[in-house]
């Protein structure tokens, strides 16, 4: 998203979803299960009328929780992730024909997001060679070892969860709530970061910034937490 001024814009979760998300879009949503998931933004998404979404996220929450509720509301057309087993309703929705599911190994999923954010055309990973998940994919031998080709993954919007932001949009994360969020923040046209607090510029150590501010468009203060 173009910036008309330096610094991320602080908005409500409802405004962020209204402004950024459209029917049919592809959304990245952070979190390993509910840990590190942007629960306030997901609630605003669930309360909106947005539908027909492709969700890229490690999981689809738990039944009725987080993205699990998004699924229940029928807003998700397609899910791309690594572990949907924690929500049995994913299998049900797929069996009903309401949901298309793409499964990737977790390391391939996270690396594909990084590649998407880094302007790469794809990469070769040894993970999954010769398994069901490599079926139909290009396999290539390089220096005597076999690898699967993986394309980069990008999205229209990323909903990420961080710990603190400064007013420019620099982000730091909290413990294992970091997980997929930093890669997602690089791989979307619009990035909305839900944070516990927004601090003054200069309050985050420049050596410890995980997501530099140029990746972040909107900041939303977290209301829902684990």
């Amino acid at each position: 998203m173009g910036h008309s001024q330096l610094g991320a814009t602080i908005v409500s979760a409802t405004t962020a979803i209204d402004e950024a998300v459209r029917d049919g879009m592809t959304l990245m949503v952070g979190g390993f299960g509910l840990v590190g998931a942007p629960l306030t933004l997901i609630r605003a998404l669930n309360a909106s009328d947005r539908k027909d979404l492709t969700i890229i996220s490690n999981n689809l929450g738990e039944p009725g929780k987080g993205l699990g509720e998004t699924l229940r509301l029928g807003k998700v057309r397609r899910a791309i992730g690594s572990f949907f087993t924690s929500n049995p309703e994913v299998a049900e929705a797929r069996d009903r024909g309401d949901l298309d599911v793409t499964l990737l190994p977790q390391g391939t999923l996270s690396e594909a997001m990084r590649a998407g954010g880094a302007g790469l055309g794809g990469f070769y990973t040894p993970t999954g060679v010769g398994t069901l998940l490599a079926e139909g994919k290009e396999v290539r031998e390089l220096n005597g070892k076999r690898y699967v080709f993986q394309e980069p993954i990008r999205s229209d919007v990323a909903l990420v969860r961080a710990h603190r932001a400064d007013r420019l949009g620099n982000l730091v994360y909290y413990k294992t709530a970091r997980n997929f969020n930093p890669m997602m923040a690089t791989a979307a046209d619009v990035v909305i970061a839900e944070v516990d607090a927004v601090v003054d510029v200069g309050q985050i150590d420049p050596e410890a910034v995980v997501t530099p501010h140029l990746f972040v468009d909107f900041l939303v203060i977290a209301e829902d937490t684990l």
Binding site: F32, G33, V35, G36, N58, S82, F83, F84, T85, S86, V90, A91, R94, D95, V101, L103, L104, P105, Q106, G107, T108, L109, S110, E111, M113, R114, T125, P126, T127, G128, V129, G130, T131, L132, L133, Y173, Y174, K175, T176, A177, R178, N179, F180, N181, P182, M183, V210, L226
Partner: protein, 214 residues
């Protein structure tokens, strides 16, 4: 010691001090009970090197969990990182060992542990990445399924997790090493005869040198 603890304790004995170890869900998490935590460093693929023991109930931090989503703590000298960095470590061969469960092991030492029979295939997590990158792979599992069906089989009927064979297979009855020619029976659990093991093993295996009971 119950059966699972027995398996975990036998797997623990295979770890070399100084190793960085990733533990899967289930029996693998019991391994920490049988090692000196200060001699090892535990990695969890959701982004922590230096996983400490579970906290007391009143000190649980919901944002500090392992890959099984159970509350953990961080050891002094820990480091947090994102998932891409975590799997770069794993694929890149920087994790010395992974200990994980399996549903089946074939006679080449290849495992099936991600797709459950009769259930939709909707979760793989980090299993394939760990199988592709960990320097040593230790499988821990009960020797047979609950109905007595051998888990060490000639050929896996379930989908393979990787074409790469594991390093060790540890059950409550035996420990197998794996080399280029397949499974080698390395040791029998105390009071377990070789005949008992072979009777419950469908995979062909060779006797290791100096086969002992430990």
């Amino acid at each position: 010691m119950n059966e699972k603890e027995l398996i975990a304790s036998r797997a623990a004995a295979l770890l070399q001090p100084g190793w960085v170890v990733n533990l899967g869900i289930g029996i693998p998490t019991l391994v920490t009970r049988f090692v000196d935590r200060n001699a090892f460093c535990f990695q969890t693929e959701n982004g922590l090197l230096g996983v400490g023991p579970p906290p007391p109930a009143d000190r649980v931090d919901p944002n500090l969990v392992d890959a099984g989503k159970r509350p953990v703590t961080e050891q002094p000298g820990a480091a947090f990182f994102d998932s891409a960095t975590s799997f770069a470590m794993i694929r890149g061969g920087h994790v010395d060992a992974v200990i994980l469960g399996a549903l089946q092991v074939d006679e080449c030492g290849r495992i099936a542990n991600w797709a459950i029979p009769g259930e939709p295939v909707l979760g793989v997590g980090g299993a394939m990445d760990l199988m592709s990158g960990a320097r040593n792979i230790i499988v821990v599992m009960t020797h047979t399924a609950k109905d007595g069906t051998p888990k060490l089989v000639r050929e896996c009927t379930l989908p393979l997790t990787s074409l790469r064979p594991v390093t060790w297979v540890v059950t409550e009855l035996a420990t197998f090493a794996v080399d280029g020619n397949g499974l080698i029976l390395r040791s029998c659990a105390p009071g377990v005869s070789k005949e008992t093991i072979l009777a419950r093993t469908a995979a062909r295996c060779r006797d290791g040198e100096g086969l002992d009971q430990t």
